[in-house]
């Protein structure tokens, strides 16, 4: 039971950190910062040049 509570707390901390980070506005002038990584062809990675932020690519 201790282990379950511990894991739930850790997941909760991560979820909270994720939500807080996404709600924090980017500083002015940094809205479109992007480093285009070219080491692989995984298009679901945000660092890839062809990543479209989860839009449909049909």
């Amino acid at each position: 039971m201790k282990a379950v509570i511990y894991v739930v707390i850790l997941v909760g901390v991560y979820a909270l950190a994720y939500i807080l980070n996404h709600r924090t506005k980017k500083p002015a002038g940094c809205e479109n910062l992007r480093e285009e990584c070219s080491s692989c062809h995984i298009v679901s990675c945000p660092a890839n040049a062809v990543y479209e932020g989860g839009k449909d690519r049909d």
Binding site: N21, K26, L33, E35, S39, C40
Partner: protein, 190 residues
């Protein structure tokens, strides 16, 4: 003397990129220019040091006394992911200039296996707190050293007359292999 040996071994002899082949994805992705390499190196250093200290205390203060050592891996993964999110949030909120320099590299660090490797190594090698601090600074220092050297070489390779089929990642891989061979020559110094 032991700490100096530990640091030198982590930076040169057991360099994570060239001897253990860890963190290769960001290594090839963010080594196209010197400025990116410095930014990524600093961000990795900060995250590895912070995440290693948190995981060290969590392991010895919570996991070990409660007999939950088997949760080590999931703990470390979640701690690293949370730490990266919180770091990005604080930088966004309090330092626009730092965010401009490091912000784009922070999400890449979550997928950098070097962070998890250092956290795991500190525990498996049974390092003390001081040794953990030294190792957690020396490993990313080695990562940054290789990243910066490699970025300088890639900048020169961009203008070099390489065959078309070798341009980009192929010639980068060959260069990395040559660097790995050069670093393996340092194996006997410690």
């Amino acid at each position: 003397m032991k700490l100096l040996s530990l640091a030198l071994a982590a930076i040169l002899v057991n360099n994570v990129v060239l001897t253990k082949y860890l963190g290769l994805c960001p290594f090839f992705g963010v080594s196209r220019n010197f400025r990116s390499a410095i930014g990524m190196g600093l961000a990795v250093t900060f995250v590895i040091f912070g995440a290693s200290l948190i995981t060290y205390f969590l392991y010895y203060l919570i996991l070990l006394p409660n007999g939950m050592e088997y949760l080590r891996l999931i703990t470390f993964i979640l701690v690293i992911a949370s730490f990266v999110q919180l770091t990005e949030m604080f930088i966004k909120k309090y330092s626009a200039s730092l965010y401009k320099t490091l912000g784009i590299y922070l999400p890449l660090i979550t997928t950098n296996c070097v962070v998890l490797y250092v956290a795991q190594e500190n525990i498996t090698m049974k390092y003390t707190l001081l040794e953990t601090c030294v190792n957690s600074l020396a490993v990313p220092a080695g990562y940054m050293l290789v990243l910066v050297l490699f970025a300088c070489m890639r900048e020169r390779l961009e203008g070099a007359d390489t065959p078309r089929a070798w341009k980009g990642v192929p010639i980068a891989l060959i260069t990395a292999a040559l660097m790995a061979m050069a670093f393996s020559g340092l194996a006997g110094i410690i």
